[in-house]
Symmetry: C2
Subunit: 643 residues, 2 copies
Amino acid sequence: MVFGNFGDDSGTGVCFSRDPSTGINKFYGEYLMNAQGEDVVAGIRTPEKIATLEKKNKKVYDQLVAIKDRLENHFKDMQDLEFTVQQGELFILQTRSGKRAGAAAVKCAVDMVAEKLITKEEAILRVSPDHLDQLLHPMIDPKAFKTAKALTKGLNASPGAACGRIVFTAKDAEEWNAKGEKVVLVRKDTSPEDIGGMVVSEGILTSTGGMTSHAAVVARGMGTPCVAGAKGVSVQGKKVVIGGTSFKEGDWITIDGSTGNVYGEKLSLIVPSISKDMSLFLSWCDEVRDASVRGDITGFKVRTNADQPEDVKRAFDFGADGVGLCRTEHMFFEKEKLIHFRAMILADNIDERKAALKKILPLQKKDFFGIFKAMNGRPVTIRLLDPPLHEFVPHTKAEIAEVAAHLNVSVKDLQPKIDRLHESNPMLGHRGCRLAVTYPEIYDMQVEAIALAAVDCLKKKIPVHPEIMIPIVCDERELAMIRPNAETIIKNVMTKAKVEIPVRIGTMIEVPRAALLADKIAEYADFFSFGTNDLTQMTFAFSRDDVASFMPSYLEKNILEVDPFKSIDEEGVGMLIDIAVKKGRGMKGDFKVGICGEHGGDPQTIDFCYRAGLSYVSCSPFRVPLARLAGAQAVIRNASAKK
Amino acid sequence: MVFGNFGDDSGTGVCFSRDPSTGINKFYGEYLMNAQGEDVVAGIRTPEKIATLEKKNKKVYDQLVAIKDRLENHFKDMQDLEFTVQQGELFILQTRSGKRAGAAAVKCAVDMVAEKLITKEEAILRVSPDHLDQLLHPMIDPKAFKTAKALTKGLNASPGAACGRIVFTAKDAEEWNAKGEKVVLVRKDTSPEDIGGMVVSEGILTSTGGMTSHAAVVARGMGTPCVAGAKGVSVQGKKVVIGGTSFKEGDWITIDGSTGNVYGEKLSLIVPSISKDMSLFLSWCDEVRDASVRGDITGFKVRTNADQPEDVKRAFDFGADGVGLCRTEHMFFEKEKLIHFRAMILADNIDERKAALKKILPLQKKDFFGIFKAMNGRPVTIRLLDPPLHEFVPHTKAEIAEVAAHLNVSVKDLQPKIDRLHESNPMLGHRGCRLAVTYPEIYDMQVEAIALAAVDCLKKKIPVHPEIMIPIVCDERELAMIRPNAETIIKNVMTKAKVEIPVRIGTMIEVPRAALLADKIAEYADFFSFGTNDLTQMTFAFSRDDVASFMPSYLEKNILEVDPFKSIDEEGVGMLIDIAVKKGRGMKGDFKVGICGEHGGDPQTIDFCYRAGLSYVSCSPFRVPLARLAGAQAVIRNASAKK
């Protein structure tokens, strides 16, 4: 055979047995006649749609359709074919499973099950978690995408695209938002006090910080697109230079948290939703997970990490089986509560502290009620106060003055108290249940608020399933002290209300010592939940907030294959998890064990969690569908690995 | 029998078969005639020495001597007897082993072996580590002690008494010292930059910080008495109020680091030395440890943690078998090196960094030479740079200006570089071998300095046995990268000098992950040394610098029985050590494994280390004799436990 352009009865083409963008079962492809050899690859001529071939050469077209059908039937998957036509004769050059977009992957999988081409299990393995991820976040309209040019690129810290006006402070974000404007918060970095502004922003762009910076973690939790650590972004006061171009407050910007790209203009976005096909597809995933059996453990659930009723509702709609982690500290950053919380931590004595806590109690109760209601009877695991107190102290002069006025003391007298809360290594400091050992009244208030909210639900006929989780446990005697205290408070509330709602009390396993001594700790816990963010920090001695200075070298020099804050380190952290599961379950047969670190939304980690025997994974609301799929894939993959 | 005062032929006494203060084998005691009943206990009359009884009532005296001899022979220990004489007839009311001072304990033990009353093993168990500790530090003259009144009490952070003039800054300490004055450094707390002043101070008194504060840790390391966290001390500028009394610079003060007492006056001290008896006694301890066999491991050595030639010399004199931990970072705080080190960490690029390192190289080499010489051929384990770089950054305006001038940049340009080194949790940050991954040239310089110093020793016919230790390892690939680099540098130095000195390269096990994966790490390490300070921090998620806010509650509420930074936590941290020893030894039979955390000087921990199969413990120079004893006791105790 001689190559080259033989004339109009010769040509080349590429086709797909189904549409690779949408998955619709319609023959799709392009071809070019008088175009064998270089011309096809060079792309200097515009190819024709495959449909026109039917008119131009029906014989070849019919042959091609018959062959693509046969191949798809044989390989039981959408085929990507290359063919050539030489002087009227068809040659198939190559066939392989076709690459497809997220929507196409789901559509093909669902259709092929309906066509009895593949089983549900096969369908589940055909869709990758990345496929679903594409479908769960807003994206830049491909048409706009073609002409737009990115000014710079940062880390793809939280997926999805966002478009809005630039604001530089959380306060400005709230003000523009109140006027009905969409905003993108642009900052050097963010801190817990920016929460209010982050919530109302379409997207977040930071010039420093890594994949686990405050901005990145919070944005992922909220499902807000975020580009972090964009070195080409330089914020100075209320101006920002992005890749050499200057912008001011109110200018339009578009960020793509899936790629890390930053655009200096308003681009149109496509907002996705869960399609009927995806809903059906995910129900198969649930069936597979629910039917899975590992020893005494039946099923493999997906919960969510969410702290606000609206986030919980979203996760519920996305199919979460419950809340795996409701952090109570974010609630304290709300303006209304913050002043009382600050008064509490700066109190001079237990009476002052209790007085401040009394003011927080009804506000926390309201939060919990909203969350219970949004989960409508599915389990909600509430973690009691976890972070070091200094995270809540006032920083600016104005804030300090406000707190001093509230406490009726001078700024001069207040400052030493603030200074006293400073810690050298807050991650390893006075936090979590350690606060309950020194100041039991804080957890007492939180437990009472949970019990009261549960009672309120019951009275309003809303089903409720609360679980309380104690963080940063390192010794069983911490639980032995805290648990009876909590039980007494719950009992008092229930007795007074004349109801009975079971409240299980469990613990985080996030300190290496707790994993090592899990058998002893299990005696005082109704369940475990692995806090793999902290467990990874302690096991590696890596501070999440500080790894940016050396993690790139570690990955580049192949000392670590993957950032252990992204996918669980099975070798080290995984060994501790294995030890803890075995020791915990050794005490109590079907003891419930889950994971609530950020890893819970990572497909590779979900596979590990299934193998490790965990009862559920928990992840941010936007990753729930992805986890439902990844969990089902883990079940199928590991079942066939056993065979 | 009727009690009461019967007359001059009746009386009561207390006696010791040997002198309980000195241990001298001479009958010792007091008695009081016409003094049965209340008078003896009431202490209203002054008793007479036992020797006078011989004159007054020889019969009774001879009976008493015969009985005390019989009892001592029977119980094979110094006896504390209570007796009464009723109308000339002797009654022994009670006998028991007598409590004795440190000196007496050693003297009795040595004498009784000579008298063939007890075996060497029994003698070793008769002396407690506390007994030795008493004898190894200066103490307040008991005569002075009787009249002196403590103004306040802090933590007994580093044992021994110190007397000197009050100074408030490290610089003042050096200046007064240069004038030949003895000083006690009084501060709120200390930081690494105070090292110079701490070295020349007789003692250190701080108003804040716990047993593991910088002041306490460094003072123990240097054998300098220290009272830390004395709440009754309030430093304001160059004045201090101690328990209500004001003092200024130059005023005399005495502190007792063994009790925590602070005295506002000059008290006379007794300075101890190792007696002939103690020297003999400790040689028996060495025999027992050297002869001990656990599986493949023969002997149980005692090394020292020391960074300065004079400290190493002291430890050598105290019987250390080698240096278990020579920290190289303290060396950098010396004025001469600090400016170059600061230039290095603030360098803009590798060339600037290398230029600064080149200036440090000869200075480090000199340090290492001095240490090798002081150890005279015994193994010296040098740990490469461990702490986060920010510990070295200039803080004060003057320091920043000095560095800026040295680097020939403006303060304004320098400040952002300093800020960039800030870390949220430096303990879990960019430190140890992580620095070698990002800036290999730092360790390269240190390894070259070690090799050059070893060559110098050999040329001067000083025997030398260097070992290099890599800190903060969490993955074997760190070692796989760093080790060949170090080997090449050593080889180049040796080849050039035409000598061959074996240099073993090992690693710290101080990160939980390293303990869990010790089998893999052992492939690249010639030895392990447990850094139990850090291992305890990571395993508990306790920051040593921050535990003061909750540790008292943990101990008081009995959640922890003992501060895990004082005695090793056998349950949790010990489990990791056991895992690491087993996994490490699994790879290489008699693989050398030691401990170099501060725990290495704690008797309870030393017993654990013996049981865990460690080859040696390492502790501060002043605790070496104590560890020689505690190690021998561990050998004997565990041998008899097995029987």
